[in-house]
Amino acid sequence: MLMDLFNHWVVITLMMSGLYIVIAHGNLIKKIVGLSVFQTSVFIFYISMAKVDGGTAPILADDIVQYSNPLPHVLILTAIVVGIATTALGLSLVVRIKEAYGSIEEESIQQQDNQQQDNNAHAKRKQEEEA
C-alpha cells in the first residue's frame, strides 16, 4: 500500500517542504528555491499520473501495444518552461532588490520601507504645520 503510492508520497513531501520554505524563510533566494521545489513536485505528480503499468515509451511501432500516456509529459514540458521563466524573473528581481535595498532579507527590507514611510509622514506633518 505504502509502496504503491511511492511517487505520491514523494510529491506530497516535496510540495509541503517547498511551501514551508517559501513561508518560513526570510531570505529571498531561499524563497525562490522553495518555490522551485514546490513547482517541481507538481511536475513529478503529472509524470507519475501518466505511467501505465507495464507500458513502454509511447513510440509508434508494431510490437508495442501498451504504452504510457504521452499527454501529461507534453503538458509538463510547458510547465517546466513556465517554471524556468518564473525562477529567472524572480532571481533577477532579487538582484535588483539587492541593488536598491542593499539586502535580500525580508525583515531588513520591510524595516527600511517602514522607516521611509515614517520619515515621509514626519516631513509631511512639518509641512502641514508650516502651512
Binding site: 517559501v22 514546490f38 507538481v42 518564473t86 528581481l93
Partner: protein, 492 residues
Amino acid sequence: MIAHLPILQVIIPLMAAPICLMLKRAQLVWLFSLIASGLAFAISILLLQQVMTSGVISYELGGWQAPWGIEYRIDKLNAFLLLIVSGISTVVLFAAQTSIEKEIPKNKHVYFYILYLLSLTGMLGIVATGDAFNVFVFLEISSLSAYALIAMGKNRQALWASYQYLIMGTIGATFILIGIGLIYQMTGTLNMYDLSQRLPEVAQTRTVFAAFAFVIVGVCLKLAMFPLHLWLPNAYAYAPSIVTAFFAATATKVAVYLLIRFTFSVFGLSFSFTTVPLQTLFMALGLIGIFAASTSAIYQRNVKHLFAYSSIAQIGYMIVGFSLSTVTGLTATLLHLFNHALMKGAIFLALAAVIYRVGNIELNNLRGLGRQMPLTMAAIVIGGLSLIGVPLTVGFVSKWYLLMALIEQGWWPVAVLILLGSMLAVVYVWRIVEAAYFKAPLDNSSPVKEAPMSFLIPIWTLIIANIYFGIDTRLSVQVAEAAAQSLFGVSL
C-alpha cells in the same frame, strides 16, 4: 476570416509583441500597440454580436477535433469579458505614451509596450480558451509580464511589491495546475465542455474534492479575494500608473471570470453549491472583504493605495453576488465586472494624470487641485460617486441588481450590510473631495496646469461611458443577463 475571429483575438497582440522589438522607436511602437489593441477590441465587438445572435462559437485550433485538440469556445460570458478587457486596454494605452514619459526611463519604453501586449494576450487567452491546461499557460503569460511591468515602477518599493506578487501569484497558478492535474487524472480530458460532461460521474470522490479546493484557492489568490489579497495594495500602488489603470480594470476581472467558469461550467452548479458549502463561505468572506478593505481604504495617505483597497472591497461585492448562485445574483456580479472596470479605469487614469503633473499622489498633494486641474479632479469625483453607487452612474445599476438579488432570496441583513459598506465608500471618496476642493494648496507647492489632452480624452471617454451605461442600461444588462442565464441553462 470571420471564422477565425476567436484565434485572431488572441494571436494579434501576441504577434504584435515581438514585432514591437523590431520597430525600435518608442513612438512608433506606441502607435503599433494601439492599433493591435484596437484591432483586438474591434474583433471582440464582432464576436459579441455574433454570439448574441447565433449562439456559441466553437473554434478548433489547427483543425484538431474538440476533446483532443485545443478548443476556443466563445459564449456570451467570454464575449462579454473579451469586450471589457480589450476595450479598457485600448483606452488606457491611448494615454500610455504621455504617462510613461515621466515614470519609466526612455530606454525601457519599447519593453514596456511589449510586456503590456503580452499581458493583454494572456488575459484574452484565459478568457477565450475552452481548454483547462491552456488556461494555466495563458495565466502564466499574463502574470509573468505583470510582474515585470510592476517592477518598472519608479520607487524601489515596486521591486519588493513585484517580488511578493510573484511568490503569491506563482503559488496560486501552481495550485490551479495541481487542480487541473487531479481532474485530468479522474476524467482523462482537459476540454472544459468535456469535463463538465464527465465530472458528475466521479463527483463524489475525494480526488475531485481536492481538485476543486486547489482550483478555488488558486483562483482566489489571483483575484485577491479577502483574505488572500495581501499582494494587491502594494502591487497597484507602486506599479507605473498606466499599469495600475490597466490591471485594476482588467486583471481581477479575468480571475473572477475563471472562478465563475470553473464553478458554474466545469464543476457544475450542483457540485459547487450543494455538495460543497461554497455559498456560506463566499458570502461571509465577501462581506468581511467589503468592510475590512473599505475601512483600510479610509486610513490610507497614498491615493493609489486608497483606491487599491477600494478595489478589494469591490471584489467583495462581486463575490457576494456570485455566492447567491441565482440568475439575478450572477447578473449583478457580471454587471459589476463591467461597471467596476469603467470606474477604476477612469479613476486610475485620472490619478496617472495627477502624477504626471504633480509627481506625487499623497492626499496632501491633491490640495487645491480642484481649481488647478478641474477636469481631472471632476473625473475622479464622478468615478468616486460611481463607486459609492449614486443614481445615474453605473455603480448604482450594479448595486441595484445586487440588492434585488439579495432581497429576492430573503437575505435582508446582507442587503443592509451592503448599503452600510457603500457608506464607507462615501467616507474615503469624501477625503479626496475634501483635499481637492476645500483645502488651500500648500504654500511651497508650485501651481500646476490641467492634464494634457492625451489624458483627458481617455479619462472622459470612460467617465462618459460611466454615465451613459448608468442611464441607458440596455446593452450591459441585456448581455450580463443573457450570459448569466446561459450559465444556468445548459452548462457552457
